[in-house]
Symmetry: C2
Subunit: 210 residues, 2 copies
Amino acid sequence: MKNTIRKERKKEIISGMYELSRREGLENVSIAKIGKHLGMPPSLVMHYFPNKRLLILGLIDHILHQYQLIYKPIINKLENNPRVDPESLVDRLFSREWNLLFDDGVFFSCYAFIFRDPSIKKEYKNLHVKLRVTLKNLLDKDEVLVNGNTGLLAEKIFVVIEGAYYYLSMMDEAKEYDQKLELFKNQVYDLIYAEINRIQSGKGMYSSGG
Amino acid sequence: MKNTIRKERKKEIISGMYELSRREGLENVSIAKIGKHLGMPPSLVMHYFPNKRLLILGLIDHILHQYQLIYKPIINKLENNPRVDPESLVDRLFSREWNLLFDDGVFFSCYAFIFRDPSIKKEYKNLHVKLRVTLKNLLDKDEVLVNGNTGLLAEKIFVVIEGAYYYLSMMDEAKEYDQKLELFKNQVYDLIYAEINRIQSGKGMYSSGG
DNA sequence: TTATTTATTGAATATTCATTCAATATTAAA
DNA sequence: TTTAATATTGAATGAATATTCAATAAATAA
């Protein structure tokens, strides 16, 4: 199959580009460097990605796919449980074991493109919406939570996760990192318990909007 | 004063660089382009910023300064009030009128540098910590909240603001944007009311850690 | 005023950039 | 096997890149 070669080469090129971006930063990656890294002439790189924009779009697809994979094992494990334990859910959502698999620098370099490229913006948005839907479905497996507004709860949880992801990236000291991480975990616990509370008492005691 | 010329020129160069980054993206800005944009030879640009790294560091200083200015009017207004009204506080923290003054694309392009440059990481962190301290001081002006853990509360509020900032940047439709914005505002209200509640009832009903 | 420092210019550097092209090798279809 | 399509190579392109340098102009200090 001629198509197999094509697909594999494209994958190889994007992977190489990703590795280079990780090491030297996306802004320092060139077609020539990618070729050199993979032992192929730059003209072959351009045979599969006729211009640099397509190369970047390919990288973003790759990044977003990887980003999604981060949550895959978390989701799989939780899906097999008949009931969702809030603690283990939050633990898993915040477990950043993926750090080894995923480079935040490349991710945010690509993220910056959303502000000047509408199609990239849409791609990013779709992924983030998708993750929220997945979380909502997980929450709906809980016999109590299913009676509440799990869509809203998922939004609230993710905004904390993403804000934490952003802020924690600035931490150097492990101690401080862990301390803040704990704090944000508690913040998510509170969201879940508040929703459970709201459901069980029929009406919320806070201004929990909906 | 010889120093005035130097300072003004440096400022002019960074401003020009910022304008270009806004229009074409940071990755497409070069020393030659900056010079052309400002009507000066590239050698003059390099006279003040002997290499490109210094130019980028200058830009980041500028960005972070601007970022801080966003909160300046908000803080000023609130500081003059003897008491902090939670609603107007949250309204102001989420008011993104600054969008005209500040370019998110450049901000995140620069943010991506924290993952490969420790000194940039530190700069970013200092700013974010500073903003939290400022918010804590504002919260401490409230006669009820001052008896609570305002430092913790400030952290929790900012993680929502920053997560919202990240997520809302992906929204295109005004309606959806407003809807989500409302949601995140409520989330912050709830944090404030929960803390007030916790203080007034002596002990929290949730697992509000501290 | 003279001497010295700084600001500014414009030309020049080697290097890297994305991209093109023609030639050849390999694979799949007829 | 012949034909057609694709994969791969290597050389070449001009434009853009960061940076250097020597010369001049302007401002400051003596």
